[in-house]
């Protein structure tokens, strides 16, 4: 029996097939229309948002929600303008589609092209900031993917009006986009249903807490692009410039402790621990960082003891654990055992030690003499950030629009048969790579 969610996903599927062939100018025009419509529709959007905020404030009074949640939920003219600007900046990105990734002659007049195409239907489940819906819809449209949108229930009124604004703007835009490319789902049961439709949804992108992302991963056969934990380390080697090490370790924890690329455990080589730790600890204390350490650390500085749990905790706050290690190998072992394969950094002036650390660590990002906080799509120059992946398959680390693409092989021939390339008189293949863009049908009718 086809239910409503399945029907929505099927509409997205047929839209995806057509959206894949809408050219970049039309997709960008549609994005421009979305930005304009958000500005024009600001009154209705803010009205709907006020309803969400009023309800959230009641929950706040009842102690169910935090002030931070209410603040994140709240829109105003300024925030709407920056949302519209964000949509325009997505339009300005390089088109991720149509690029010929490889071209190879298999034989005379038999040419293989590997071309970037959209993935198809992307299911997204995201946090209650209302700008998330707009950002995700814009990224999907830019990359030619149909999208199923599920936002937080706290933002349901805002999301509904934003969704309608987007869909109407695209329908009325001077761009031939297929209806049904974006679908809004609202109920929790619809999410469960979505996660079952693994033959119709090509990718799921959950955003939110690591528990939430793990829940999604455990409850669907659809490939998941998301990130769970960020347990990151900074290792201060014996050959480190200790002033640099102090600055990096400070930045990595204090500059913004709530995010996944902040450091959770500082590893210090035992040869420099006595020199390094007292100043470092003082600096952290001044910034209000709660510190725990293993026994060798506590022989040097007066901090609370670290338990085994500390080594695998993502504090997400001004808390840090410190461990003294024997050498770079011990640092690598500790990070590979307790880290979450997100981002690890070494501070050293010794290039060989840097190489040992960087190649030995199994993580999406490994840094030398730089703060872990650089692990981010914007800082990496990826353009619009689709998300961060802690998986190793398809996309790893910060993911740009490329993460929403796959590829298709196009083969242009003039009647070649496999029978000619098999058996005793088999023709050989030339397998010669060349630079060239796919031009449909250029070998036909010559």
């Amino acid at each position: 029996m086809t239910d409503d969610t399945e029907r929505q996903v099927e509409q997205a599927q047929s839209a995806a097939l057509r959206l894949a062939n809408v050219d970049a100018a039309e997709r960008d025009a549609a994005l421009g229309a979305i930005a304009d419509a958000i500005r024009e529709n600001s009154e209705a959007i803010l009205e709907a948002n006020a309803e969400d905020v009023a309800e959230a404030e009641e929950m706040l009074a009842e102690g169910e929600y935090t002030q931070a949640l209410v603040d994140r939920l709240k829109l105003d003219e300024g925030k709407l303008e920056s949302i519209a600007g964000m949509v325009e900046s997505v339009a300005d990105q390089t088109d991720p589609l149509g690029k010929t990734l490889a071209a190879r002659e298999l034989d005379d007049d038999l040419e293989l092209y590997k071309v970037a195409v959209p993935i198809g239907v992307v299911g997204t489940i995201f946090e209650s900031r209302p700008d998330a819906l707009v950002q995700i819809a814009a990224l999907a449209l830019k990359s030619g993917n149909a999208v199923i949108l599920k936002g937080g229930s706290e933002a349901s009124e805002s999301n509904r009006v934003l969704y309608e604004t987007i869909v109407e703007a695209v329908a009325e835009a001077d761009a031939d986009l297929p209806e049904g490319w974006a679908q809004l789902i609202e109920a929790h049961e619809e999410v469960d249903r979505l996660l079952e439709l693994d033959d119709k949804v090509d990718l799921v992108m959950p955003r939110g807490s690591s528990e939430f992302v793990s829940y999604i991963q455990d409850n669907t056969q659809i490939p998941v692009l998301g990130h769970t934990e960020g347990v990151c380390h900074v290792y201060v080697d014996e050959a480190a410039d200790l002033e640099m090490a102090e600055e990096i370790a400070f930045d990595a924890k204090v500059q913004y402790p709530a995010v996944c690329n902040a450091v959770e455990t500082l590893l210090v080589d035992d040869d420099v621990a006595a020199d390094f730790l007292p100043g470092m600890v003082e600096r952290y204390r001044e910034a209000g960082v709660e510190l725990r350490g293993d026994a060798p650390t506590r022989e040097i500085v007066d901090v609370d003891p670290a338990s085994d749990d500390d080594w695998s905790s993502e504090y997400g706050d001004l808390e840090l654990s410190i461990k003294v290690v024997e050498d770079v190998y011990a640092a690598v072992d500790h990070a590979n055992t307790f880290g979450s394969k997100h981002t690890e950094s070494i501070v050293t002036e010794d290039a060989d030690v840097a190489e040992t650390f960087m190649t030995g660590i199994d993580a999406a990002s490994v840094f030398h003499n730089a703060s872990t906080r650089f692990a981010d799509g914007y800082r990496y120059g990826l353009g619009a950030e689709v998300g961060i992946s802690t998986g190793k398959i398809h996309a790893r680390g910060p993911v740009g629009l490329e993460g929403l693409t796959t590829y298709k092989y196009y083969l242009e021939g003039d009647g070649q048969l496999v029978a000619s390339y098999a058996g005793d008189d088999a023709l050989p293949f030339t397998h010669r790579d060349f630079d060239g863009e796919w031009t449909p049908g250029h070998l036909a009718g010559e």
Copy 2:
């Protein structure tokens, strides 16, 4: 509680961390040692194989196995030599690891490199041809991945001896490879356990029937690289060179009908159906192809009626269904609805129609004026074929050694902090792409 399978996977995990940094020359030397050991150990291997074959022949007599299975199982000196040669050809492939895929300056002395690395631990479950174990172990070793091997129970004696031959050859080779990089599992319960270890196994590659691959996909949270069905189409457009179309449609079905890239349904434009079908059908009949067609087809040629099931059947044999369609759009719709996103081909001299078909089809491979049978890693020039993927994520279509790699971001700095790039006085990023290979630590100590 840690069981045996989990312990094996954990051994593979620690081996994977070290194997990732074994250089190409050592991996290739180890592959050479495997090839030599297979030749030297041929007597023991053939003896073990004879036990498997004797048991299989009993099952054949009882009607449990087919003669084809017994034939596939059987090794002889010639087959062993070609297995050894296959291992040497894997060694000859270009190293898939260490390549810098992208290099970007983020700012002065702050350089980001994206470098190809192994995935980690790959679980493989494969058919009962004993050469499969050797091939998969060789591909894993070449790409720096630890591997869990589970073969068909029919080949258990052969697999055990081949596994021991491989592991001992690598241990004794003049190459510093970590112990435990290859693990053999034998019982069905061990497979079930393997599929549960989604936090320790990075990728599963099942080979076998489409039912089997689907079963694996439905029973694990680990990403799966595999292919299920191949329901491929050839579309003969009204602007086709009809002689070419006949040759291609014949090759695509008859050259080797048992494989997934053989055609199952022939789509013919209604303007040329009356011209094209009589000769085509005669040609197929002479080759013993059983034909079915829709009503318009049966007005032109005398074939059995096609049922709805025919459109989605992978015959894998000398059987074919024929459907007359109105135009290229109807052909695209039919293929997108009933096809398996594997390989589709159009025959036409009209470049615009070719473009409509090729961009409209959602499949891993779309061909113009060439037989569907070209969809294959060897013919594509991918070198060693790891498998064929019908998924869209990570790897699509024929997959070479690259499919067993992921990437790591390396960032080389000289003490940069994110605080400098944030706030009112934020430094700008330069984000300048450049050609360059990652050289560990080259900015340190300058």
